[in-house]
Amino acid sequence: MIVEIGHFALVLALGAALAQTVVPFWGARVGDNGLMEVGRNAALIQLALIAIAFAALVNAHLTSDFSVLNVAENSHSAVPAIYKISGVWGNHEGSMLLWVLILAIFGALVALFGRALPRSLRADALAVQGLISVAFLAFILLTSNPFERLAPAPFEGRDLNPILQDPGLAVHPPLLYLGYVGFSIVYSFAAAALIEGRIDAAWARFVRPFTLVAWSFLTLGIAAGSFWAYYTLGWGGFWFWDPVENASLMPWLAGTAFLHSVAVMEKRDALKIWTIFLAILAFSFSLLGTFLVRSGVLTSVHAFASDPRRGVFILAILALFIFGSFALFAWRAPMLKQGGLFAPISREGALIVNNLLLTTSCATVLLGTLYPLALEQLTGEKITVGAPFFNLTCGALLLTACFVAPFGFSLAWKRGDLFGVIQRLSLAIIVGAVTAVVGAAWLSSGSLFAPLAIGLAIFIIVGTLIEVVMRARRPGVAPGVALKRALGLPLSLYGAALAHLGLGVTLLGLAGLGFGAETIATLHRGAPERVGPYSITLDSVGERVGPNYKEAVTSMTVRSGERVVAEIAPARRQFAARQMTTTQAGLATLNFGQVYVAIADPTPDGAVPARLYWKPLVTLIWFGAGCMAFGGALSLADRRLRFGAAARAKVVAGSLARPAQ
């Protein structure tokens, strides 16, 4: 019964989304306030209905109702409760439901907090957001109904894919979707601005909070996914240039570019058309990602059982929203008024370089991801475009962007003094260069990436810190005054600084990999094996029974010289329901680095074949991503930039001049 209520709520949500699309759009055209207001209520009702549907599906999974096909195929009565819940989005139908739930949440946020927005802009944005909902709700109801019943109901479920039975599943998809789908609101605002034919700095102020939210969550989501892959796949890699990862990286790159160009637009009223273009691009990549992952054109852990009808349906949605918005862009963008002037050497100029590098690196990722698919369609040849391609193209461009970052952060708006900035950053440049040389000397392998990256990382970190200190402390100012000035600096400055520091920290973690060690060995009890500066000894091998698996557990001691520094317990789990084995890596964090051990099945005589890694600084990769996301949150907390603050001030000023509307 609850399941049918969920299904029914989803159908009603489609109705609400239709109302949200048509009525406010019509209202904005005829200038009817009452009709425009309908959009807000429809958005809230839509959210409530989708939330009911989602709750119904969660309930079906929690109670292991195997008469629902989705539960029977992706759950098992013995699965722990947390995986019963996260299993809701561990399959195609459920993850699409989460997708529309988040879409509706963002729509409702506009409805709730968008009072300060111009009425017609809000109405149009809600209408576009509603149209996206209509498309995806129709997709779910027609091709991927999570509430389909199964008769007769099986006695037991087929179990959740063991790879997905991990806390990572509870965290990674919701975070990623909050980012991915969050860009829908930016897209909707861009489309609304094009429909209105008017865009200004106030627009940038409205979309900035949403951009920051989406970008921060996307950053966290990608980092969480990468960390999950790192510890669960058993060979220590954290990024594989897998098409599905690329699908999440592309919106991030476009979104990062947008985040920077929207700042230019907000402060300087320039780069309007380009900013609109990026807004459309970021969400287009989100849609492309959804298509790549959900249509079954790719083989990947993320591609659940596929159905060709779904691929065609998503492709149609993709075409509608991408071509529709770009057609609107081509038609309307020339009408938008161009804004402020600036010299090439200025913060605007640096941000343009940043944008160029980010968008071209995004283009290379797109090329590498789609080229194999296109080639196979055209010639039937199957190829793989792997890490070497992406490292050389996207990697080189992103490293260049990293190099530009401190300069951009230190240059003044409108007309900058490059020589002065180089002088200011001279300490950072010197420290970075020295680090790179020392790194190169220490690393005998002759690899270029690690020393270069470590030097760049230090340059970014030191350069960013210098800039923050210089902003607070002018020469000849007493320390007390400087402290006061530092407290008075806007939070958004600290946010940006923290995000740049995070970038440097992540780069430092990446550079650290070049200084790591790995070895494959068969461990015998009591015989230590060296990896990097540590030695690892196998102490015992045992068996353990979990709720829905049994595992071979080993216990090992990590020593530095004679001193015991950590105990680890790498294991292998056997899942009976799906006849699958997963690797539980043994991890020990030592000074930001990690010792990482993944084992194979123990041999009959009690020896354990294992991969051993020493990964210095590896945790910094994810720590840096966390700093970036926190920087985004800090910017969001800046009062001056809070949603509609400027508009409210303007309304107050305006109401003095003329009577209230």
Binding site: L341, A343, L356, V385, G386, F389, I520, M580, T581, A600
Partner: protein
């Protein structure tokens, strides 16, 4: 600087970045892409040793030989032709005889591959798509065969 000059500078910068990216991409594409073949295609193409490729098929039942120091040798088959594969390292969790596998490495002779990466399927429900296609080409694949397992 005039608006026109500024625009020209911008266009020049954009062209420089895009040009650099395009040449990097072309260079990388010519150098680092890897072709996928089935054992039959490897036999038919008479590739030179030293070529990098991916081979996909089934692990021939009874062919897996493990020796000390984590060396493994096995045979990949698509029914019509076989290819010997040698590999040093730990096999993925889902590597099994009679199941689909993709091996990437360097061709050592006409029928011998030194693999550097071994990929097995992700899930008991489906095979790597390339393997399915390779088997289909040889007429060894029946739709739904693998999926039917309860």
């Amino acid at each position: 600087m005039t608006r026109r000059g500024r625009r020209l500078a911008l266009i020049a910068a954009a062209l420089a970045v895009v040009g650099a990216a395009a040449s990097l991409a072309l260079y990388a594409l010519s150098d680092s892409i890897v072709f996928f073949y089935s054992p039959s295609e490897v036999a038919a193409k008479a590739l030179a040793p030293g070529v990098r490729l991916r081979v996909g098929g089934l692990v021939k039942t009874g062919s897996v030989m493990k020796s000390s120091d984590e060396r493994v040798a096995f045979v990949v088959t698509d029914g019509a032709h076989d290819l010997k594969v040698s590999y040093q390292g730990l096999l993925p969790d889902l590597f099994r005889e009679g199941q689909g596998v993709v091996a990437e490495g360097v061709l050592a002779g006409s029928d011998q591959l030194h693999a550097e990466t071994i990929l097995a399927k992700h899930d008991e429900r489906y095979m790597p798509r390339e393997v399915v296609d390779a088997l289909k080409k040889e007429g060894r694949w029946r739709e739904g065969e693998d999926v039917a397992k309860p």
